[in-house]
């Protein structure tokens, strides 16, 4: 099968200056490869952060916010009258109850919602962990461990013991790995916990977990809900937080609004509670695209330059072709196809190189770090990025080649042929 004459000319042009063609192709190759590498890595980081974040954050968190409204005072009620201005200077905060009213009923109601995967009550408090002379500040979360496990997949994160041990042991505690290391305790040891209000209780360690986030593993422990209620001297219905896991976490924003309105408490979705992470994701995405587009624009200018030079060298040829009856669109086709072949070759070798580089990076061990549980650099392989790379590369070279081609087609043959 012989190529159509225009493409044959285009092929001959490309092959007669192999070095120039290769340089142009390599420009696109590196542009696309860097794009693939950067986006795979950045998206990998995004995904890793989001995953770790979701491991520790419920999709929807329902709680009572501490109200700081000091504008209304009982004094103004008492002294009220005409021509009086009542000002209470620097009032102290009121005692507020942080518990969610009628929590049992709310939990039961949320459970009936078809969008919900799991609901867990929570009561947490700050404590001092005492073991021998060591005292460490941290907090405990009183939970229903079965529900909590469904929320965060705790079973997978247990280093020692099982989550169910909490149910079978009186005053059991599941301790974060970093905390256990600092206290130098292991399963079976007894630790003493003291609250800021002064009450103390002894717990037996029945399991050690590692979530992979240093700021949690170093301070957090799980105990039964009733233990915390007992420690704080509260009744059986005292719950401050309800955590909800949805079947689809993209629905969190809508669902949190609904819950907030329905139950009269504050309901916060995971994106809001981790807005720093989502902001970081946006920054990384923007950065990726800015750098990649810059690289491709540079490659595009390279092609533009080479095409312009080629056309300047081929003025005579273009004039001859026109005199022989090649129309303007034929000339555009001849030169634009050269640019597109460069773009396509560059894009294909670019995604190939990009894949190799990304794969290489995904095998590089991540410097070990007690705050992040990461073995290798996080890289994801998404076919969409590769398709996008090809499309992007071809479009860039099309634009870079189109203007010189149009210029070539406008050459007046008479001026050149008359010499």
């Amino acid at each position: 099968m012989k190529l159509p004459v225009n493409l044959d000319i285009s092929k001959t042009h490309l092959l007669s200056r192999k070095k120039q063609t290769l340089v142009a192709v390599l420009g696109v190759t590196f542009g696309i490869a860097m794009f693939i590498l950067m986006i795979s890595f950045m998206q990998g980081v995004n995904k890793f952060l989001e995953d770790t974040m979701l491991q520790a954050t419920p999709d929807v968190h329902i709680y009572n916010d501490l109200k700081t409204d000091y504008s209304v005072s009982i004094a103004s009620e008492y002294f009220k009258g005409e021509n009086k201005l009542i000002v209470v200077h620097h009032p102290k905060p009121k005692q507020v109850k942080l518990n969610i009213k009628n929590a049992e009923a709310i939990i039961a109601d949320i459970k009936r919602n078809p969008q919900v995967a799991a609901v867990a009550p929570l009561l947490s408090t700050q404590v001092f962990y005492n073991y021998g002379p060591v005292q460490i500040n941290g907090f405990i979360e009183g939970v229903n461990i079965i529900e909590e496990t469904r929320l965060y997949n705790l079973n997978e994160k247990m280093l020692f013991g099982k989550t169910e041990n909490l149910l079978t042991t009186d005053n059991g505690i599941l301790m974060g790995s970093g905390l256990a290391q600092k206290l130098n305790v292991r399963t079976g040891d007894l630790v003493s916990l003291a609250t800021p209000m002064g009450s103390t209780m002894r717990f037996r360690i029945v399991g050690i977990f590692k979530i992979g986030i240093g700021t949690l593993d170093n301070v957090k422990s799980y105990v039964n809900l009733s233990s915390v209620q007992q420690l704080l001297g509260k009744d059986k219905s005292y719950i401050t937080d309800i955590n909800v896991k949805l079947k689809d976490n993209k629905m969190a924003v809508a669902m949190s609004k609904e819950f907030g309105k329905k139950y009269g408490s504050k309901a916060e979705d995971w994106e809001t509670s981790n807005s720093s992470v989502t902001a970081g994701n946006t920054v990384r995405n923007v950065l990726t695209f800015v750098v990649s587009i810059t690289l491709l624009v540079v490659a595009g200018f390279g092609i533009y330059n080479i095409m312009n030079m080629t056309i300047a060298n081929k003025m005579k040829d273009i004039a001859i072709l026109k005199a022989q009856g090649f129309a303007r669109k034929d000339i555009v086709q001849i030169f634009l196809s050269q640019s597109l072949v460069i773009g396509l070759l560059g894009a294909l070798s670019g995604i190939f190189l990009g894949f190799i580089l990304s794969y290489g990076l995904s095998r590089v061990p991540f410097p070990s770090n007690e705050f992040i549980g990461l073995k290798y650099f996080p890289v994801i392989f998404n076919p969409k990025h590769y398709i996008f790379g090809i499309v992007f590369g071809v479009i860039t070279t099309f634009i870079a080649g189109f203007m010189p081609s149009l210029k070539a087609s406008r050459i007046d043959p008479v001026a050149i042929l008359r010499g």
């Binding site: 012989k2 042009h13 001859i320 072709l321 022989q324 009856g325 129309a327 303007r328 008479v414």
Partner: protein, 223 residues
């Protein structure tokens, strides 16, 4: 005699560097099979006239009719098609495409026309090259040929689509006398075979062999 080309009241102006009336009311008629030489001093407008007739230059007043088609006012695309099919052009500088072999250069306009299969085009190209005595150079890169050889290849290329008119702008202007002689003979033979030829030349020897000499002085035809 049937008329194959008719130009009526052609006017052409150059605007750069200053306004200049190059062709002043030129009318010309060429019959089928005629061999016409356009002669004149440098700057007389003879080449300009040829480029108007060849349809490459469309910036003029008057009308040109070729093969019963009025080419004046046709779109650029239609003119490209017309040139490809009906006009063969030979330039002063031989102007082959240097990356292609001799036979590929000859085949180019026929491949653009797309009337014949690739094999037929190739055998036709070889036939035309044989006519020029260049068939043994068919597979050589065209850049490797001498000036005279290149001009003969260019003539073969101009003939590949069996044009109704062969136009040549100083075809011997850049050749030595031996090669010029060869090109004269080729044109003479082509004329005998019934080809219509219009050539611009300032070579009086060459001009004398034509059926008709048209002299142009200061943009006007002398009768």
């Amino acid at each position: 005699m049937n008329e194959i080309l008719k130009a009526e009241h052609l006017h052409k102006y150059f605007h750069e560097p200053e306004s200049f009336h190059v062709l002043d009311d030129v009318s010309l008629s060429v019959n089928r099979g005629e061999f016409v030489s356009l002669v004149g001093k440098s700057g007389s407008g003879k080449s300009t006239l040829l480029y108007l007739l060849s349809t490459l230059d469309t910036d003029y007043e008057g009308t040109i009719t070729m093969d019963n088609t009025k080419v004046t006012g046709l779109s650029q695309n239609a003119l490209s098609k017309f040139r490809n099919e009906k006009i063969g052009f030979v330039f002063q500088f031989h102007f082959l495409l240097p990356e292609f072999s001799t036979v590929q250069n000859v085949m180019m306009p026929a491949r653009k026309l797309g009337k014949y299969s690739n094999e037929e085009i190739e055998s036709r190209a070889m036939e035309k090259l044989k006519l020029m005595g260049m068939d043994s150079f068919a597979l050589k890169p065209s850049g490797k040929l001498s000036g005279g050889q290149q001009q003969r290849v260019a003539i073969a290329r101009a003939l590949i689509n069996d044009p109704i008119i062969l136009m040549a702008d100083e075809p011997t202007g850049n050749l030595d006398s031996a090669n010029s002689e060869i090109v004269f003979d080729i044109f003479r033979n082509l004329s005998k075979k019934g080809n219509t030829i219009i050539t611009v030349t300032h070579d009086t020897d060459f001009a004398r062999r034509a059926d008709r000499i048209v002299e142009i002085v200061d943009g006007k035809i002398m009768h």
